[in-house]
């Protein structure tokens, strides 16, 4: 395994976020499922990095994301924030960690409590993280955050979540992240439930965040082409293990693991002139190499 860019450039700088052989097992005994098997990942202090974690459903990529977010304690190994174990933080440390590491989740519908207006999302973080002072200042900040993700404040504020489209809701989540200005945003399948037409908009916002605010992105996706669009580094996960890691472009050009090759062969291209070209036999051989059942 090549660990090209995912290790920090200088060893004495503590990384912001790190998984060290994180292992998560659900269930016991015969029913045990290994969701994550010695997964390691480093997000350095600087420069802002972009790492895609690519895998199919059940590959463990979401477990890795939840572990990094402090939502799923690993059963083995460590999840570290600035060198400290995320799961042993005290109240103050936890708040500081949450300010540093934020998320955009998959389901733009379920992420809003249907009981409250959209504004609550902002009210909570301003209260919890002490952002803004006074009503007018806070209102100003909210509007600024919404404009940063190309939303018009009066289209969004004072409304209930079901009155917004999926793309708008996901952008509200990005505005929320913009307001917190964390060091890392973990985007867990953040575009998979959105319409094609707005996926690019969400990905572009993440790219802008990195460029303009220096926010690192961990982009969890099942879609290789989305990882390609974002660029940066990539981890390919399968059955809880990282099977390949490196720069996206390098992996796409010279995949070393059979599973990565199989993914590349199977991904449908929007160009009908490059219809799937591998013969059935080659594909079957690849499936065998990758250890994938031939259905």
């Amino acid at each position: 395994m090549t660990d090209a860019k995912t290790t920090p450039p200088s060893t004495n700088a503590t990384p912001i976020l790190e998984l060290r052989d994180a292992t998560t097992v659900f269930g016991h005994g015969a029913d045990a499922t290994v969701a994550n098997d010695r997964v390691s990942l480093v997000i350095p202090e600087s420069p802002p990095s972009l790492v895609s974690i690519v895998g199919e459903s059940g590959s463990g990529k979401t477990t890795a994301a939840r572990t990094l977010l402090g939502l799923q304690q690993p059963t083995g190994g460590q999840a570290l924030w600035r060198g400290q174990d995320i799961y042993k933080l005290d109240g103050k440390g936890r708040t500081a960690f949450r300010r540093d590491v934020q998320a955009v989740f998959q389901d733009p519908y379920g992420i809003f409590n249907p009981f409250y207006k959209v504004d609550r999302v902002f009210d909570i973080i301003m209260k919890r993280f002490g952002i803004g002072s006074g009503k007018a200042d806070r209102r100003e900040l909210i509007e600024e955050a919404l404009r940063a993700v190309s939303l018009r404040p009066h289209d969004v504020l004072g409304r209930y979540p079901h009155q917004l489209s999926g793309g708008e809701r996901q952008r509200v989540m990005l505005a929320r992240a913009w307001m917190i200005k964390p060091r890392v945003i973990i985007a867990d399948e953040a575009i998979s439930m959105l319409d094609v037409a707005v996926r690019a908009i969400v990905m572009n916002i993440l790219l802008d965040f990195r460029e303009q605010l220096g926010i690192s992105t961990i982009f969890i996706t099942h879609d290789l082409s989305a990882a390609h669009y974002l660029g940066g580094d990539m981890l390919v996960m399968r059955r809880g293990k990282v099977v390949e890691r490196g720069e996206v472009d390098q992996i796409l050009q010279r995949p070393t693991h059979a599973y990565t090759r199989l993914l590349l062969e199977s991904i449908p291209s929007p160009d009908p002139d490059s219809r799937w070209a591998t013969s059935a036999d080659d594909l079957a051989r690849l499936e065998q190499d990758a250890g994938v059942a031939a259905t």
Partner: protein, 285 residues
């Protein structure tokens, strides 16, 4: 907010609320209504009117074999039934909610032990137990009776609420609140509880009606506290007199109708709530 929402969306809910409100108003103002109806005569006074009179303008439900106005008797019995239903329903819902919430949100060992407890209570055959209790403690007041009934119906509420909390706990918005650094307490009260309201409403309606009917059952088999006059007492009296064979069907009909209305009101409220809040039913409106 949830109320107005449901009111607007569900005709069943509207119907239930109107029926139940009317019954409660009748219960609260029963003395006034009785006075309007028969003046200063004591409704319980034996021989105040003719015996077994057929329905008329003066006595819409006729009179009973002791010459009492049956409408006035029903107005007199309604409050006890409502009170038992309300108190027992409320108590069992509150206990059920607390147990269900703690069990569902905490999980782990707390959940396991609370669940064992509720399951044990659930498998106790309630009817024989209440029968025994009723036979030994005939001097119970309405309130005590309600407490006894509540003690046996909260495990049902706890179960339903626990499973709801379990599913709400996994909602993405709870995750969002967690990474927004909200405390458990805040998540329970701000994220989970408001979304539980309709289910608490359903639980309240169901256990209230359950209690009212349990009381009717007890009175009919003659095990209710002797001092209490409720709709069940009236119903059992009508049965005792053979009201139907006497062709005095209103004696039977009056308390029965009130009980059915009570049941319908509660059932329609809980169905309306489910219609609006159960996502699986939502598409079928």
């Amino acid at each position: 907010m949830a109320f107005i929402n449901t009111w607007r969306q569900s005709g069943q809910f509207r119907f239930g609320v109107i029926v139940l409100s009317l019954l409660i108003l009748m219960g609260v103002f029963h003395q006034l209504l009785i006075r309007l109806h028969i003046g200063d005569t004591d409704p319980r006074q034996i021989g105040a009117f003719g015996i077994l009179e057929s329905p008329s303008w003066a006595h819409p439900f006729g009179t009973d074999p002791y010459g009492r106005d049956w409408l006035a008797m029903n107005l007199l019995g309604l409050p006890s039934s409502l009170l038992v239903a309300g108190i027992a329903g409320l108590i069992s819902t509150v206990i059920g909610a607390v147990v269900g919430f703690v069990s569902g949100y905490k999980g782990g060992k707390t959940d396991a032990s609370l669940r064992t407890m509720t399951d044990m209570l659930l498998v106790i055959p309630t009817l024989p137990l209440i029968l025994t209790l009723g036979a030994y403690a005939r001097g119970l007041s309405v309130l005590e009776l309600a407490l006894v009934l509540a003690a046996f119906s909260w495990p049902f509420a706890a179960r339903v609420i626990r499973s709801q909390v379990l599913s709400l706990r996994e909602r993405p918005y709870v995750e969002l609140s967690k990474i927004s650094d909200l405390k458990d307490r805040q998540i329970i009260f701000q994220d989970i509880l408001p979304n539980m309201m309709p289910y608490l409403g359903i639980g309240l309606a169901t256990s209230s009606v359950g209690a009212a009917f349990a009381l009717v059952g007890l009175t009919i088999i003659g095990l209710a506290p002797s001092g209490v006059l409720d709709l069940g007492t009236l119903l059992s009296l009508a049965l005792e007199w053979g009201a139907l064979s006497l062709q005095q069907w209103t004696l039977f009909f009056a308390p029965m109708t009130l009980l059915i209305l009570l049941f319908l009101g509660a059932a329609f409220i809980s169905q309306g709530l489910e219609q609006v809040y159960n996502p699986r039913l939502r598409g079928q409106q």
